[in-house]
Homo-oligomer: 454 residues x 4
């Protein structure tokens, strides 16, 4: 269900957020709850064992559970009933003890979110590694810097890659933080007081958090949805960064620009009407998936005003919107990863495009050296005039400058010549690239160091 | 795929917007194109016949087509290849002649949208009929009118139902108009010039529109997405109206209000923790589905800026977002329909709630009669004072008023008494109900009259 | 207030939706209400006269009214108080008789919306006229058709303009319809029953509608917000169409494409760092304003679920979001109008760009003629191979084709030559242009004919 | 400008994000840049002094600067021109040296954001303190816990306040983190290479960051907008938390619930038609402002795909949307603060409402004790039957239970009696309240400790 949805979804993430995986995560909660309650002396150990034994999704008719939820109002209800049935009449009575639907559904989503974040982190690290390689490899590959659609001054493809890297690195840090601090066990019973557990509440809470490996929150958060909204916001930001990279790739792939290409794979990015077309299909799908992910994230963020102790509707919208935000964000990430990994970079075309403006792209360079002699306003004025003449005459700005009395009066011919060498005008690009790579490297090392425990 | 999505989807609409139905709609386009081109003399009649013969979705591996589209960039490409294969080498060469991917995908979505609109129209008519019945039956059932959470002055449940009816009627008109004028054949070839068809373009265009029963647009609209966005907007409005009705139902269902109930069906709206709960599950799901539908519609509207002759990404986002907007809007509609059809209305509770403010709900009534004697500002002041005393003393405003020298000086005891009978203060409610029902009836009749041709 | 907001707003629309204009519109309602009630015999004619006389915004301290509304909860309350004060103690008591805050605020917004729609219609007609002129003037100006960032097959700049025209024409029709059918008087009293007016409700309603020239709705619509949401949706669509045009202009303005330019005006689109830059400032602002307009429209559409008889919050969000949707949509419209009116079109650059792919842009043309001889699949295969060779060798596809045994075997040299003339492959472009212009012309004529009454 | 916008804005925040404050922040950048460049030996110290001296907004015609920006494309351009003029011809040539428009505009927004975050933090601390007081004061004030609109089991008003506190505390932490790590100096020159500064780039960068007290980023972030989007996301979350609190207040204020009231202030929350009304005006405006803030934040997040080295439109949309997100979030915060600070809590009404269901609200309590004897499924069944009979007969569940053979067979009369005392069934509520208060207290202490340096 969900027409052509597969094209925008990362298959692994779609598996993490499937009905089957969701029901298994709910069963993980129920099994862990039984064990935690047995340990706290709330229910018999034998019952916990019997319950745990049947907390495997393959024992359940997932489609039937979901179907029954249409009338029941929540899939936890038919699931708990089925679980109680399978656990047998002795143990069955202890199933879901003291819990409410929102406990099991929210916690299941948190367990799935953890898996989803892990997948995203791994993919973003791969993208980061690729960007770092591109940044270093093309440190000195000059290309046109473009602002507001116009050639501005030169930059390098390495610096452009370093920008992607820098944004990706920050999202890795963001997701790590969300992974470490933003997830939380949900367990509060009917209205969040754990009233059904009497004095045993805190101890079950602690055991349960340990069983599931989820942080124990200060208090149940049934209608305090900032955690969920923060997850959605983080996904939206990751999707937004992917959209930025995809947009750059699409613009650089244009026939008129042609500085990068997604690479030629048989059957990829073809056209049903035009045999010569090589469409940037990965970036295209990435951009679409990013838009869809941000749409879902907006639904989650827009539904934060949960009423009282359980919301009628606002909560339920999260059931689909949060998973889909993960699925489409992952789709965008996977597509960007694929686009970058197969990317062909045409450095000579970049160099050629730098000449398109007949030297105008180096007006800043010229202005800068000139400003040292005549001041910035005057330099600006002189270069603007020269630029206008260059454009009008279709003549290279360098030649116009050499002929211009005022400019040539202030600068030597050699100085003018040098102003038009893009490689000399990359400013601090190399330093910036280094910094971006260092930051990424540091994050990777920190992650690797943390690995054994994580 | 799409975790718990089924709970928010109307199954019939989900079937209309499934991969299978989508591929069939694409095949409908390809078959119709072949026949139109044969009729225009562009391809041989035998080829058209052979192509038409294999335009049945059951001949295709739908999952494989979608899977191949991940690399190909569009599902039209593997589908056209498979279709050409099935049509045989003679006819196969004429498959998809002169068309582009966007022609077949957009037209398929339009055919599906038509089916989707028809389903929505039928359901909205059912909701309208139910609202009309409620409006007439409860024309004189007084209840508290509530503004900004506070009892204001009396209204009737019939008038409340008439409001729902009126908004639903307008959405029926809106969808009818979209159905009649907002859909359009998409057929323009690679960049919308029909260049591959030479002079035959216009004639194929006309035949094809006729074959598919879709309006012929002035010109192909590959990147003019206002039609698609208008569809999305119409769905968003329908979803918004459903959200309004669901919100009212939820508020009226509150334990403290208890004026309506979704009705008791075994297994419906129960709680996993509290046996006595009767949750308004239909309204809850309706509200959630409406939020999700509006989220999808916003994605479509936000993606209108398609680049040049085919967008990279903005178009693709529509592939999922428009179908899902239909599916979730239908989910909201179906849930509201179900909630209303089983609705229990507690008129006596409505009457009882009217007394909750100790007569304060009739301050406007009192102010109005008083104003006729002492002017509106003075009446307002007198009644405000009396209200404050009523509230402070916990005494019925009627009694306060009878004892108030200024008020009792201006009005007779009988006049004061009458001011506190809610049934006397429904103003033009009956007239408004009549008008809403008349408008709906007129729309239904117009629809029925149009049926034979529609 | 509202930092740099002026840059994205059309000044005239900002004046239509200012506090002053809003308060005047509210006073228009109050004056008309008094006159309508006098005519219906509800209040004395002298009072109506006295009230009408002071319904001029210059008599009020607008800032103070808004300031007092912070505590009062609605600006109607301090305004009505001030109006009653100015009207004198006799007439003052009849001010706002039978009305509620939402009556005056909603109706004022409708009056402002009418003025806003009129302004938008006039501007869109100007844009349409400019697009129609461009479409006709450049009917045969070939340019590259671009799909998914790649050159696809030729189109003409006239056809591109006709697309803009066609979308603009449909928005004119949409806004006309909204103007004619989507606005409505709001008048229902406290909870929409007109209870304070007794039997006089319907007659006051009718007189008031006539006074204000607004359609009388079937029933008051305090919490039936589909009308307001439909207005917002229409604005969102207009903004989306502007975004499409602006996007095309930006892409065509790119240094590497350079097919259009916004024209050089002293001081316009300059850069603080680069004297040679000529930024497409109008399209840039248009795109930004369109995004902002759509954001505001989404707030309105997302707030349709008004509770009971008056919403706490959802309604209030409209107070700013609807006006701002108008203001920013108008900003986008004004900027597009300005960009198009000064647009420089470089037909020779368009022609030159067509050659960028070494003939690959005409593969469809070649495939089409070839398909007539060898069937579409074989033609597709042959041309794809030739294209690959052309790209690999950097040699024009025409020459590759002439040398290719299979292609040259099926086609004459002349046929191959002709396949590479873009002007011969514009298909039905001229027809489509004609149709778009005709439709626009018809709309304009209908509007002019309607003018006397409108 | 911006009709009725004042009602949803916090005045102080509106002043922080006004044209005047923005221009001053831009001048702060320019002054600091001059000093930094002087220190780095890039420009003469005297020029830096002369520039610094005129970096005061009162010297500029702010309205004219903005007006000129309509054509110039950015307000930095006329501002820099005016600044250079005021600085005199010697110093004027060094104004804005090596910088680009985006450097000064982005940095100004960051400086304003810092002030905005500080204001929000202070207000949220006030809200937190009030919630903490309510939580402790009402630790044992029982009230109905409500899920899906229905009474579920008892909770306490203290716990409800603790939930608000907990969400507010997390937003304080979030904003602190954004304040400490999410802001950054923007300084990169034309395309982010600092090419105009030659080797001096890094040193100017460092001095400038120090001058402005803003973190120095790894590299300029002209089109890496995750920082800005993260700011917007944080605001959206704060707004969402305010919406949750406002929603609870509105629901609790309903005439039928009446457990809290915003308090009576002369002229506040009145009605133009009904003298007795006491509308929850603060919560109403809070909810509206929160919706508007989230709408603006969505615009920022949805505009992350900036093209190349400077976006045409996506960047510009941030100019208004980010400030407005601050202004409306602050509006929501201020309104919630005001609503809570004047809040009247009616504990006796809370107690009375607990009895509305005739004991049904304590079914969980009864089920729990019963389950210890007969197992959960059987207990659930028995209580459900008893509940149905209680509801049908309109008789208190306690009495039904006492008469029920199965229930009374399993429990003593005293046990049944106790099951219906809400104060005995608050579970871990007190513990949860303590934890929420402790966390908040810890955050406050940490903040106070940091104050001297912060």
């Amino acid at each position: 269900m969900g027409q052509t949805r597969e094209l925008f979804a990362a298959p692994t993430m779609a598996a993490i957020f499937s009905n089957e995986a969701h029901i298994q995560a709910m069963l993980d909660f129920e099994g862990a709850l039984a064990r935690a309650e047995a340990r706290a002396g709330v229910i018999p150990a034998a019952a916990a064992q019997a319950i745990s034994d049947v907390c495997r999704v393959e024992l359940y008719d997932v489609a039937a559970v979901i179907e029954q939820a249409r009338a029941a109002g929540a899939h936890s209800i038919p699931l708990v009933a089925a679980l109680a049935g399978l656990a047998g009449s002795d143990a069955g009575r202890y199933v879901h003890w003291g819990a409410t639907s929102q406990d099991v559904i929210d916690t299941a989503l948190m367990l799935q979110a953890r898996a989803g974040l892990d997948w995203l982190l791994a993919e973003l690290l791969a993208i980061g590694a690729r960007c770092a390689a591109l940044a270093q490899q093309h440190r000195l590959t000059p290309m046109a810097g473009r602002t507001l659609t116009q050639h501005a001054t030169p930059t390098s493809f390495g610096l452009k890659s370093a920008h992607w890297l820098s944004a990706v690195t920050r999202q890795i840090e963001r997701l790590q933080r969300v992974r470490a601090e933003g997830l939380a066990l949900q367990f509060g019973g009917a209205v969040g007081t754990l009233s059904a557990l009497g004095d045993a509440g805190p101890s079950v809470l602690e055991q349960l958090a340990q069983e599931l490996g989820l942080p124990q929150p200060d208090l149940p958060w049934h209608t305090d949805r900032d955690r969920v909204a923060a997850l959605a916001a983080a996904l939206s930001l990751v999707a937004g960064v992917m959209a930025k990279i995809a947009t750059d790739l699409l613009l650089l792939s244009q026939t008129e620009v042609a500085e990068v290409s997604e690479g030629v794979v048989e059957g990829k990015g073809g056209s049903s009407a035009m045999p010569h077309k090589r469409n940037p299909a990965e970036a295209t799908f990435a951009l679409a998936a990013a838009r869809m992910a941000q749409g879902q994230a907006a639904v989650v963020m827009g539904a934060m005003a949960h009423e009282h102790e359980r919301a009628a509707g606002a909560w339920h919208a999260e059931w689909v919107a949060l998973p889909d935000a993960f699925v489409y964000t992952a789709g965008a990430v996977e597509r960007v990863q694929s686009a970058l990994s197969g990317l062909t970079v045409d450095a000579s075309r970049m160099r050629a495009n730098l000449d398109l403006t007949g030297g105008l792209i180096l007006t800043e360079a010229l202005t800068t050296v000139l400003a040292e002699r005549v001041g910035r306003p005057e330099a600006f004025r002189l270069v603007k005039d020269a630029s206008d003449r260059s454009r009008a005459a279709g003549r290279h700005l360098r030649d116009i400058a050499q002929d211009d009395a005022a400019i040539a009066g202030a600068l030597t011919a050699r100085e003018i010549e040098r102003a038009f060498d893009p490689a000399r005008h990359l400013g601090s690009a190399s330093l910036f690239i280094e910094r971006a790579v260092e930051r990424f490297t540091w994050i990777v090392e920190r992650l690797n160091a943390a690995e054994p425990e994580g």
